[in-house]
């Protein structure tokens, strides 16, 4: 990778040096309590390219950090190892608020089918933004089990959550069709048609 410009130095941290580190050295930065926040942020971003299974625990520890959690997910999302999915599912149970929404973003990105049940529970969360993120995450996972959860949630959902479940239903239908689940897609579409639906969703549903 092209080294960042030599002038790229923040808080005395040489980012070019961080970008030249191997996985073990980057993990050490994350585990160093004295390392500046900036160094940890850049180490996470570098691990997005060179990180593997060994980096998962150190990255997952940062999922609760309000300033570093996006960087941690930045590092975790592209790692093709099931250890990431396990770590995200564990974080889902341990976290709340914004960091938990972020974790759901990553679960959705990775389309982790094993997370459907845990995410679906959050459709009933008292925090409406958490519930909306859960609906969007199920849509991205987009398998028949996720579709069932959206189908169940739709008639019960009210207010902004209702609209998000409807929008998520449309995305889930697209994902079901793309995976060859035409029957499940038709069932979800039929459930949505019972409405009421926001006008843009009516248009999308056709």
């Amino acid at each position: 990778m092209q080294a960042p410009a030599p002038s790229s130095s923040t808080s005395g941290v040489n980012v070019a040096a961080i970008f030249a580190m191997n996985e073990a050295a980057l993990i050490a930065v994350l585990q160093d309590a004295a390392a500046p926040l900036y160094a940890k942020a850049k180490a996470c971003q570098r691990l997005a390219l060179v990180g593997g299974r060994d980096a998962v625990p150190a990255l997952a520890k940062l999922l609760a950090d309000p300033k570093l959690n996006t960087y941690a997910r930045y590092g975790l999302e592209p790692i093709r190892d099931e250890a990431v999915d396990v770590a995200l599912r564990n974080a889902l149970a341990a976290l709340s608020g914004n960091p938990r929404q972020g974790v759901m973003n990553s679960i959705g990105r990775r389309r982790d089918a094993k997370a459907v049940k845990a995410v679906a529970k959050l459709l009933g969360d008292r925090d409406v933004e958490t519930a909306r993120t859960a609906a969007a995450t199920l849509a991205k996972i987009g398998n028949p089990e996720a579709a069932k959860e959206l189908e169940k949630a739709f008639p019960r959902a009210t207010g902004p959550l209702h609209d998000t479940v409807a929008q998520s239903g449309i995305i889930c239908i697209e994902n079901l069709k793309a995976a060859g689940h035409a029957r499940e897609a038709a069932a979800l579409a039929a459930a949505l048609r019972k409405g009421p639906l926001p006008k843009p969703v009516q248009i999308a549903l056709g």
Binding site: M1, Q2, P4, A5, S7, S8, S9, T10, S11, V15, F19, Y38, A41, K42, Q45, A48, L49, V50, P66, K67, L68, N69, T70, Y71, R73, Y74, L76, E77, P78, R80, N98, P99, Q101, G102, N105, S106, G108, R109, E129, T133, A136, Q167, I170, I171, E174, P198, K199, P200, I203, A204
Partner: protein
Amino acid sequence: MSTLTRRGLLRSAAAGPLILPSWAVPPSDRIALGGVGLGPRGANVLKSFFAQPEVRFLAIADLRNERRELIKSMADKHHDTHDTKMYRDMFDLLARDDIDAVLIATGDRWHTTASILAAQAGKDIYCEKPCSMTIAESRALAQGVARYKRVYQAGTQRRNVTNFQLAVGLVHSGKLGKVQTLHANTLNPKTSHEWLPEEPEPNPEVCDWNRWLGPCPWRPYNSKYVAGRWRGHFDFHGGGILEWGSHTVDVCQWANQSDATTPVEFEPQGNHVHARWANGVKLVMRDTGWLGMGTCSVRFEGDNGWVETGDTGKISLSDNLQSEYREIKEAGTDPTKHVRDFLDCVKSRKQPKSNALAAAQGHIACHAAYISWQLGRKLAFDPARDLFINDDEANRMRSRAIREPWRV
């Protein structure tokens, strides 16, 4: 004024171009517009919207109070009213049923998310470029706009500027012969990972830093970002290939009739990237060696001649094609005809020239080129799957984690 009837105006219009005053447009033909994040470029594009008689600008959403006030004062003056509404939160604007379309001109980091939110809210969208930060965002944008059947115009206005149209026409008509190489003017690709020194965060009513960051990872506040120095910072900016390539690679994609695909191969050569489409035509993204036709130049070469043009409107042609020369004094930066194309499509429900799919593919080509440049190696790309072939590291760079609570 009393002798100027709408019917009379329409009769006159049949004889030649005419701009109708806004009072002459019946309410059913009016297009209610809202603005999201309009800085200097957004304000310039807004003036082109103001030049169209059917446009009524109703509201501005901006996380900076000074910009809200500025756009409101522009709109109030234009419409001779005090009614333009101001919102800090774009959701309040998008929730309005009386707004048909939005002009989005935030920083690049917000473009995809805001466009998808607008499409979900049933709005048609004119969005400044670059329209996405990653390959994954580009695809999400195209899918989101198609899902809700919205009209979308990327602010890549050169598709509606005469000299660029003339150059592309020479390719499409076969006058250049068999096309060999298309050249796109790009900038130095590099970005910085530096954080500027921390400053105290302003009152969110003055500038909402959390909202300014939006989908990007957290970093400490510095007023220079907000003042425009976010460009060049990796977390906020897709680099110099995308900065101009969103215009010039886009024109080359159009010239090669590749609006539904991208090149299949990218190879860095210094600060340039050489690419190749599946039909064998080469695409050269470069920041040097131009003839001086202005910013955002393109050059098309075939076995029967060449043409080069840029933002000045000037055109340079090979000797054998001099009969094609036309004197054009049109700035490549002027969005007026592009805005007109968008508004016509809002009415007809056709897709404009810089529609979401075309924009997504052009942007994906730029992102792929930048990834190739960052890795310093040749990459093979599968446009049907948005996937680099046998290169895990490159594939890891196709997306970036999005900061909660935002999602696309």
